[in-house]
Structure formats: structure tokens, C-alpha cells
């Protein structure tokens, strides 16, 4: 099966590749590489065979890979429904511990009003919280 996200670490940055070589190296189709060239991947010059510099190819694939990432800032929780990091409604979130050191921040999405969750370790809670008001849920006592 072809990979949707080719591994940019397979490309050697000091070498140059033809379209076919790049496709073989990354396990994609050569038309995919030609599509990248149309999309903005720089080629070495206008002569044939088209040569792609390894450093350019690696940088292009790396940039594509991080383009769709939406890292949450402090005080934000990713809403799966809206596909974006959101500040929970009323700036309020609840910390539900799973263990002594790890738990979930639970809030309500201001737009779709669904529940939003963010994994949070207790040690990093100060960095993650931003200016959220966090309430701590008491862990249920276990019957021994």
C-alpha cells in the first residue's frame, strides 16, 4: 500500500533525484512526484531529465507534513468535531485524574457544545492550563 505521507527522512539531502528515482525512493507513483513539482517543489533547472535536489525534496515533504498539524496552545483543547483547537466555554475545564500523575482535561466546545478532551499530565498542568479555571474531580474511592 502506498503511503499518504512519504517519509522525508528517506531522502538524501546531498544527492539529486530524477522523478522516477524520487518516486522509487519514497514508494510513491512518479505522477505524484510530478504533481509535487506542479505544486511548488523546486526543480534544479529546466533541462531534462528533471532533477530534484534532495535538500529541496526533504524540505518540501517536511513542510507538507506539518502543514495540517494544529498544535493546541496553552488553555486550548482540540475539538474533534470542529477540527480545531478551541477554548472551552466559560474558560472552564475539569481535570479528571486517571492515575496519580495523568488525567484528562474535559471542557465544552463553545461552538458545537460537544465535550472536548485533552490528555494532561499533572506535572505539566501549569504549562497547559493557560488562563483556564480548572476544577479537580475527586477520584472515586475504591473498595478494597
Amino acid at each position: 500500500m502506498r503511503k499518504r505521507r512519504p517519509n522525508h527522512r528517506l531522502v538524501k539531502i546531498h544527492r539529486s533525484y530524477t522523478v522516477e528515482e524520487a518516486a522509487r525512493r519514497l514508494g510513491t507513483h512518479k505522477n505524484t512526484v510530478r504533481a509535487w513539482l506542479r505544486d511548488g517543489l523546486p526543480s534544479c533547472d529546466t533541462r531534462r531529465p528533471t532533477l530534484i535536489l534532495g535538500c529541496d525534496l526533504a524540505a518540501y515533504l517536511k513542510a507538507r507534513r506539518i502543514k495540517n498539524k494544529r498544535p493546541c496552545q496553552p488553555g486550548e483543547i482540540y475539538c474533534v468535531c470542529c477540527r480545531a483547537p478551541k477554548r472551552p466555554a466559560g474558560n472552564m475545564a475539569e481535570y479528571q485524574p486517571n492515575s496519580a500523575s495523568l488525567g484528562n482535561l474535559v471542557g465544552i466546545c463553545p461552538d458545537c457544545e460537544g465535550m472536548i478532551y485533552r490528555r494532561a499530565s499533572k506535572a505539566k498542568l501549569i504549562e497547559i492550563r493557560g488562563n483556564l479555571d480548572i476544577t479537580f474531580a475527586e477520584a472515586e474511592r475504591r473498595v478494597k
Binding site: 546531498h14 544527492r15 523546486p42 534544479c44 533547472d45 533541462r47 532533477l51 535536489l53 529541496d56
Partner: protein
């Protein structure tokens, strides 16, 4: 945008092919040569490799 000399890129490519096929150098040797050449080009960007014997 990387600065490069297109003519040098093609010459280097031919040279790596020669190392691999005629001299039967291993992939690692060719990689090391490629790295050394790109360091040289970084140090002396104006140098054209066409004058060098392969």
C-alpha cells in the same frame, strides 16, 4: 531557497553514477563523497566542477 549551480548538480550526478557503477563503490562511499562535495560547494559556491577530472 537553496542556492546551487545546476551544471554542478548534473556533473556530480554523473560522477556518482560513475563511482557506483564503474568503480563499484558502496552506497556509503558515494554518500560520503556527496557530503564532502556539497561542503566544498558551500565553502566555494562560485567554483564550477566542470574543470575537475572525474
Amino acid at each position: 531557497m537553496t542556492k546551487h549551480n545546476p551544471e554542478n548538480v548534473r556533473i556530480k550526478r554523473r560522477y556518482f553514477g560513475w563511482l557506483q557503477e564503474a568503480k563499484q563503490c558502496s552506497e556509503a562511499t558515494v554518500d560520503a563523497t556527496a557530503k564532502a562535495l556539497s561542503r566544498f560547494e558551500e565553502w566555494n559556491p562560485a567554483q564550477e566542477l566542470s574543470g575537475f577530472p572525474p
